[in-house]
Symmetry: C2
Subunit: 374 residues, 2 copies
């Protein structure tokens, strides 16, 4: 059930067994530094999203560069991070169920922990769990800033919920969760600015109404890799929840600037290494990495630095490549790097990161929260 | 990295922690029996595909009902089955790389093992690996019967490759792999019959040409849950490689008979149990199971026996439900069964099957080959 590592430190990249999840460590470290540099002038903090990387090793490298903590979506992810030494964790999501809430409350004894709500019943359940555990839990109100998923409407409904938290004996009102997920992958600057403009207005209005009721918002959190440069200069958001920037994926790379060029200055640092296992005729090759190895929820992977080779379809364990010419036809047994369509679910398919630098395997990091869905 | 089981035997289904992979054991056993009954009159054997279930427990239940062995796609899956006591395993796929081939050859000492090729170079590499291990390996020729993926063309090219196998000192020619994957999910009987008709013709022609060269085909394998009733009565296929029938999924359930009704007589036996974690307003609910919990490569999951509730979109950890009316609106904390769009990648997301009968948890089976991609 737990797979053995596909590599041994010191071996050459071509020797890694496939499919394997490979980090280009130079590009990865560049991304860590680059995000810190981009956020420094804004005064806004990074609370990086660990649903992307699922690793206390990566989390610590982010925090060494100034991140104040981590976001997660699941209690099981929060546990892996807290047990791995991360001191400040926000579950940027609703948590329902007595067993999960008891586990979350238990974590508060070793890490600063917070969770989101969008319903009075959740407040009641968390108060009960916190009381049972003899702990206090920090709770944020999630507002729907346009994604039409979780969250109460901005304004009075959010204030009402915040008051319930504030008067609960074992709860602390922690602020607002205001993530506009549906803006992240809009291709044009104009679309992203319009959607995030509305989100910022909604968050500002809610913060002001809370203040009028004597409720401060220590955290106003949101933003992702696609839009953080808008939220971070809004004057209202205090924490950025970017995740994908550490690795970048093919889908985020399709976001454009005003001139129609790729806007992102982050580098592709995450790859699925795959082997050509069949090459039936010129123009067609098949990789040993299908959608079990590189999920396709955000489109097909891109073959790295081989513009003449297109990954056109994925079945469970086959990736079909169309090759433009005889001279660029990959050989049977050749290994190719794929840029995943979406890094988050891809990482969650593997037990190990294989860190590569200068063509050699440097490190094997466990994907410690692999499969941590509960 | 390995998750703890989400249930304890004896507990009620509603008490299972979510997301969880649940088997309805009655429906599952019905499917096992039903396939055995459908194939019995044909004289054709079942070599069930373990890429669906990844479990020696399930494999043994199939073999207890007459299956002659198992198919897998990966060496790591073959290892899990062989070590779990399965005596006859076909890797219905190409295997490339010296390390993988050495592992495969080592398995032949504990299980009857075979592998497929579609290139003379693969034959050379397998001969080398078999010679190094001092074993003999059975090798099938994969022919492309219409899917335009792996496989040599039917006819002379296949005969040529079979001869190379037959003259290799450490190899045994095992027959033909003739799987028409692109026919499995065609919705109409006519489409499936046309595509499988061509596949049958191609397989028959190749078998005859091999026989003219003195080469018998102990195995002519192929077929899946969508088409096996055509191949099994063709008089040319000897083994059916169906996988999904054990569980059924939402996509296979969309295949139709000549009257436009669902053709499959297998039952939905596999579910992802999920919890409503947010219900912001009437008409909208959000589950704790997004595409990390229930992959969407073959469409969205279907909410079981709740026709008024549609799972309309999946993000990493959120499943968005649109609910038709106030009276059918699920409650916060309510647990719903989802029928996965595609059972194979869904199973591969979990470490545990939770077997349920009569509303109670009966068994916890490890998904022993979870993540076995190498």
């Amino acid at each position: 059930m737990l797979q053995t590592p596909p590599a041994i430190p010191g071996m050459r990249e071509e020797e890694i067994d496939t499919p394997a999840l490979v980090i280009d460590l130079d590009a990865f470290e560049y991304n860590l530094d680059h995000m810190a540099a981009l956020l420094a002038p804004t005064g806004v903090k990074l609370r990086a999203h660990a649903k992307t990387h699922k690793s206390p090793v990566v989390a610590k490298l982010q925090m060494a560069r100034g991140a104040v903590g981590q976001c997660v979506q699941k209690v099981a992810e929060a546990e892996v991070l807290a047990w791995g030494g991360i001191p400040d964790i926000l579950v940027s999501n609703q948590v329902v169920g007595a067993a999960k809430l008891a586990r979350l409350c238990a974590l508060t004894s070793i890490a600063k922990t917070a969770v989101c709500v969008d319903d009075a019943l959740q407040v009641e359940w968390i108060e009960q769990a916190a009381a049972n555990s003899g702990r206090r839990m920090t709770v944020l109100v999630e507002i729907d800033v346009g994604a039409a998923r979780c969250g109460v409407p901005p304004g009075p409904a959010a204030v009402e919920l915040a008051k319930r938290i504030a008067v609960s004996k074992h709860l602390i009102f922690g602020g607002l969760q205001a993530y506009q997920g549906s803006a992240q992958h809009k291709r044009t600057v104009a679309e992203r600015q319009t959607l995030i403009g509305s989100a910022v207005d909604a968050a500002r209005r809610t913060v002001e109404q809370l203040r009028q009721q004597g409720l401060d918002c220590p955290i106003v959190g949101g933003a992702g890799t696609g839009t953080f440069q808008i939220e971070s200069t809004s004057g209202i958001y205090t924490e950025m929840q970017c995740g994908s920037y550490v690795f970048m994926d093919a889908d985020y790379a399709r976001n454009l600037d005003a001139e129609g060029n790729p806007i992102s200055t982050f580098r592709h640092a995450l790859f699925v290494l795959a082997t050509v296992m069949s090459a039936p005729h010129t123009g067609l090759a098949v990789l040993d990495a299908g959608h079990k190895a590189v999920p396709i929820d955000s489109g097909m992977p891109v073959v790295w630095q081989k513009p003449d080779i297109r990954y056109v379809s994925a079945s469970d364990e086959h990736g079909k490549l169309i090759v433009g010419s005889e001279t660029t036809m990959p050989k049977l047994g050749e290994k190719l790097r794929l840029v995943p369509g979406h890094c988050d679910p891809t990482v969650d398919r593997y037990d190990w990161y294989v860190g590569v630098r200068g063509g050699r395997v440097e490190s094997l990091w466990p994907v410690a929260a692999r499969g941590a869905m509960a």
